[in-house]
Each structure stands twice: as C-alpha cells, then as structure tokens.
Amino acid sequence: MTAAITSAAPGLAGELARLGDFDAQLCMNCGICTAACPLGIDVLPRRVLRYAVLGLGEHVRAESEAVFSCLLCRACEANCPAGVHIAEDVRLLRRWLAEEGH
C-alpha cells in the first residue's frame, strides 16, 4: 500500500499523544526495526508508525491485524538508533483502534 504524503493530516499523531507518550515522530525511517522484528510483517513497525505520524488513519485501520499481531517484544527498540519507544507507540495505536471500534 502506498501512502500519498499529500493526504497527510497531523491530527492522528495529536490524538495518539493525548492517549500517551507517542514519540514515533522521532523515527528516522531507517527500517532497522522491521529487519529486527521476529514476525517479519513488512508494514511492522516502521510503515504503520509512519502512517500514524502522517495522520493517515485509514492506512492504520487497514493494518489493524498487523498492529494487534505485534509481540511488544521490543527487539525493534533494542536496535533503534533514534531511541523511539516503538512498543509503547504500537500499544497506543491499539488503544486508538479499540476506541475507534476495531
């Protein structure tokens, strides 16, 4: 799925920040997290978090299964050069999705 940056709306990141310490905006988009993920799901976690930062709520909803598949094992965090709290960000996405009725 390709996310067009022209459709970006920052509101979602604000909603996530209201729910907790959402810090995916620190992501440098390097993809080490995805390479380190034991699940091997290509959208997890980098692309899903990028969708959230860009405010692409529909894209996040479309990847609901990937978001709820995350093991929260933090292998991504152990390798993240930007120090993003990825597991907590994914947990906040779950909370947002649950509030949205997913």
Binding site: L71, R74, A75, A78, W96
Partner: protein, 332 residues
Amino acid sequence: MALPTRDVVGVLTDNLRLRGSVLPIPARQATRWAAELGLPRGGGTVLYTGMMYQLIPYIERLVRLEERFGGTRLAALSGLARRANRLVNGISLAARPPRRERAEYDRIPATVARLLLQAGVEFGYLYEEDLYAGALAYDLGADEAVAGHARRIAGIFRAHGVREVITIDPHTTTMLRTVYPRLVDGYDVRVRSYLEVLADHLPPATAPGRGRVVIHDSCLYARSENVVEAPRQLLSAAGVTVCEPASARELTWCCGGPAEALFPEKAAAVAAERVGQLREVAPDCVTMCPICLVNLRKAAHGTMRIRDISEYLAGTVPAGQAPLAASGKRNT
C-alpha cells in the same frame, strides 16, 4: 483464521473488570500451591505470583479448544460469546484442566517460595488477594480497565501494609514495577523478581556440575527490567553451565507467546524459529517466564527438554541427562 480482535479484547477486558483477571479461575485453585507452606497472610514483604504460572494449564486448554473447533467457527460465535461471558464465567466452563496438569504448574510457585525460604528471605502471601496484574489487557491497549484494576491491587497492598513485593514472572514484574507507577497516584512499592532477590543471597560455594543448558531470556526481563545477570549467576552457582544462543541477553528472540491470544499461527511460527536457535546449542533449555515455557514446549514437540529456571535452582533436575531421542519423539 484469526479470532476477531474486538471481541477477544472485549472478553478479556470484561473479565478483568468483572472478575479481576483476564482468565478468571477459582481462587482456591490459584492458591492451592501454597497450601502446605504455612506462609503468613500479608506483611511488609509478600510473594506475588499474579496467577501467571497457575493460569498456564487453562491457557493450554483454551488453545486446544481453538485448535479443535477451528478459528473460523469460534470467530463466528465470538460476539455471542462476549455477551454470554458477561453473565457467566465462560473460561471456567470452557477450560477445566485436570489436577495433573494444574499440579505441574502449581509446583513452580511452591518451588520459588521454598528457594526464598531456604535463602533466609522472610515474606508473606496474599492468598485470594494475589490477583492477576493485567498484563495482557494492558498490552492490548485496554488502559482504562487496567488502571482501575491497578488501583484495586494498590489498595490491597495498602490494606496489608505491603512495602515490598517479590514477583515470580517477568510480566507481573513489569506491570507492578514499571507500569503501575504510571497508572496509580502515590504508588510506592518496591518490586523485585525472586531471581534478583536470590542473587543477593548467592551461596558461598558452587554446587557440583549439573550439566549444560541453553538459556532463553525473557524479552521483558532482558529489555525492560534489566534482569539479565541474576539468572546466569544463580544457574552457575547451582552448578549449571549456561550456554548462550544466537540471540541472547538484551537481544533475545521472542518466544511468540504474546501473539497466542489473537494469532496462534503467528505465535507458533515465531516459537518454532526460536526453538531452532536454541536446539542448535543444547538439548536442554532453561526459561524464566511461564509464557515462554509453554509456547516453546509446544513448538519443540518433545525434541528439547524445556524447564523453568526454578527447577534448576532447586536441584530437582537430574544431572547428566541422556541425549534426546530422534526428533519428534517426546521427552519431558
């Protein structure tokens, strides 16, 4: 087919709100392990199991139920199941492990308690007020339900004058030590894993050699709670040679267990990969988390001996075990 996320999360959250646990089991069964130990009720320091090991036979039964009936058929009934579960404790009806299965996992908290007593640690127990800490619901984003539950447990600690808690699994440790301070105003309880407590009471002499094992670090212990050296120190003191797998310590590889509730096939694939990494190093594996224990055992299909660390520390594992039989033949 995966179970519907919304209904599964809903059942777990309803259970936490209504019955104090995501998988409610009778208190007499969750506390049976302590029956012969005579531990005092409450006190400044308590051993807190969070029911995690006691829940494993029930989780195994539920997983088998899903495998038997298939995710598709269960998924079709999930909405109805959630509504019914609000009225009747569905878990206690659906999952009834026999005494033999319960006894296997009840043995672990009892062994931990005996290890602490032997080390001279004084502690009490909260019996039926030793509640599940809410880890699965928190992981699924049910923050409000978990916050209410955390306040309830903090109230129990206050009522009993608890200032220090000794935990026996990584999920309960993280909830009580790292998550609860964010959820409960004024929460001021010192929380330590029994592995950290025992490491402060290391015996002066090393026990005779008891063979070699490959260690599987828990993600939470290694990456969240900095419980990395204590299990290695304790195993070495118990005469066990610890071998490191390809992914170890802070870079440990997940057992897949956290995905079991919603996506058992994905959990199994991650577990199978981890078992492969571990089996390359040694036929005997030591774990320190009930979720890792059950998930890796299931994935190993009897091709490895996977045991909880408490069994090695208590010296109940026979030294110098025979090599495992051909792949696929059961060894326990």
